[in-house]
């Protein structure tokens, strides 16, 4: 007798494949957690998906280009005027800054206090914001090739954005201060009281835990980096206190702050090279050399406070030549 053809053909019940995938996935997660070799493998594999990253950034680039193309002359003239005005205001401020800095140096000399150094930097442009609603990260167009390193502080024009968490050859990923995984040591600009500012996962809110009820902290206080963790240089604005509420326990206060940087609006960022270098060997030799070339520079040097791109390239070629030997 011919067997009756079943109404439904049974597809593969892929339990073994599922088990295999689960083991593989957990293995990958564990390995990435424990072994740094996975990090390098990952940065190579990221290049494989780079075309997709480039592809999905096309529409927004196109929109930007389109907006530029159709914006009429009048609005461009207006914008130009506004930018000129801003330039004037800023250069005015810079002039005052210069005299204040000179005065500050002089006073510090009188007090025999050490001078705080200018922090060198390179600029970076935003490549893509994170597409995941539960983390606050972004990708910028500077990588190992430019001297970026894991843990490097990132600023925008107004304040601290966050720090670099992974570096590939030409791009790196920045964890923002508002991410729930991020915390930064801060102090109140007004009186120097020190706290930790923790991210909450919301872009516009930071949480300041463990503030004693007696602490002198008010709404509107500016929080700047305290430099205590050794990772961020001192004195960069981080956030402004937005709410101070007594907690029911009467011993602590609930304090929230609003980040000063504007990651959703900025396109250009600064990667800082703070003088207190992390002591581990994640640092690229070329970058260290480039810093030695022009930093710490004499104040008379025109590039005293920044990394010279040419010097960096020269150092990199030198290093490469040395490695090839």
């Amino acid at each position: 007798m011919r067997p009756i053809k079943p109404l439904f053909s049974y597809g593969p019940i892929p339990t073994y494949r599922m088990l295999l995938c689960a083991v593989l996935a957990f293995g990958l997660m564990f390995a990435e957690h424990r072994f740094s070799a996975v990090e390098t493998a990952r940065s190579h594999m990221t290049s494989v998906v780079a075309p997709i990253q480039w592809l999905v950034s096309l529409p927004s680039e196109g929109m930007r280009w389109g907006a530029m193309a159709v914006s009429d002359q009048q609005s461009l003239i207006d914008e130009n005027g506004r930018l000129r005005e801003q330039l004037l205001t800023l250069s005015n401020r810079v002039q005052r800054m210069a005299s204040l800095t000179a005065q500050n140096v002089h006073l510090r000399e009188l007090l025999n206090a050490p001078n705080p150094d200018d922090v060198p930097y390179i600029t970076a442009e935003l490549l893509s914001l994170d597409s995941d609603p539960f983390t606050q990260q972004m990708v910028i167009d500077r990588g190992r090739r430019d001297g970026a390193y894991v843990g490097q502080p990132v600023m925008d024009a107004s304040g601290l954005i966050g720090q670099v968490v992974s570096v590939s050859a030409y791009t790196s990923r920045v964890l923002m201060v508002a991410d729930a995984n991020h915390a930064v040591p801060v102090e109140i600009n007004r009186n120097g009281l020190r706290f930790i500012a923790q991210g909450t996962g919301q872009l516009d809110t930071l949480n300041i835990p463990s503030v004693p009820a007696t602490a002198d902290i008010r709404e509107g206080d500016l929080l700047v980096t305290s430099g205590l963790g050794g990772r961020f240089p001192r004195g960069y604005p981080v956030a402004r206190v937005s709410q101070v509420r007594p907690e029911s326990s009467q011993t602590f206060m609930q304090v929230t702050a609003e980040p000063i940087s504007q990651p959703e609006r900025s396109r250009y960022f600064l990667l800082l090279f703070p003088p207190e270098r992390p002591q581990d060997d994640t640092l690229d030799g070329a970058e260290r050399m480039a810093r030695a070339v022009i930093w710490p520079g004499d104040p008379g040097h025109p590039n005293a406070n920044r990394i010279d791109e040419d010097a960096l390239t020269a150092a990199l070629t030198l290093i490469q030549a040395k490695e090839e030997e």
Partner: protein, 159 residues
């Protein structure tokens, strides 16, 4: 299914991956449907002999690389999603289209829940029920997507 069929499957899956990682304003991110999940679910239901767990794994790894998530997190979630749909694909053949949508919501929701669990393992996150929104919107899209893809698939003769 010939080589053309496989090409078409991968083309649609990669398209879904692109939609999944397309940059959007911050406030809209949470409203993005789970494109990749829905498309993977469609192919698992339509051609369970061809598309399955390993497809989910590969796409998940690519998603991990693009999003900078811990390697393996999305890979696990996506292969689990494919597995669930392969277990239940026979029901889809007898369900009405809105019953299918409800089932899709439940399965995508389970996958999202597992993803949230994995996130909490790797570090602190802000947890709210919002994580179900991509699954809900994906399920609402299911009837249209399913009908459209069936028409396209039949016309191209992919079985």
């Amino acid at each position: 299914m010939g080589p053309f069929g496989y090409l078409f499957v991968w083309f649609t899956l990669l398209l879904a991956l692109c939609l999944q990682v397309m940059p959007l304003p911050d406030a809209w991110l949470i409203w993005r449907p789970d494109w990749l999940g829905v498309l993977l679910a469609y192919w698992c239901v339509a051609t369970p002999q061809r598309v399955g767990v390993l497809h989910g794994f590969v796409l998940g790894v690519m998603l991990d690389l693009i999003e900078g998530a811990p390697l393996g997190q999305n890979a696990l979630v996506m292969s689990l999603l494919a597995y669930l749909f392969l277990l239940l694909y026979q029901r889809f053949r007898v369900y009405s289209i809105w019953q299918q949508a409800v089932l899709v919501f439940i399965l995508l929701g389970i996958a999202q829940l597992v993803e949230q669990w994995l996130r909490t393992i790797f570090g602190p996150v802000s947890v709210s029920l919002e994580f179900l929104l991509p699954a809900l919107i994906g399920a609402l899209l299911w009837p249209w997507l399913f009908t459209m893809m069936q028409v396209v698939r039949r016309r191209l003769g992919i079985a």
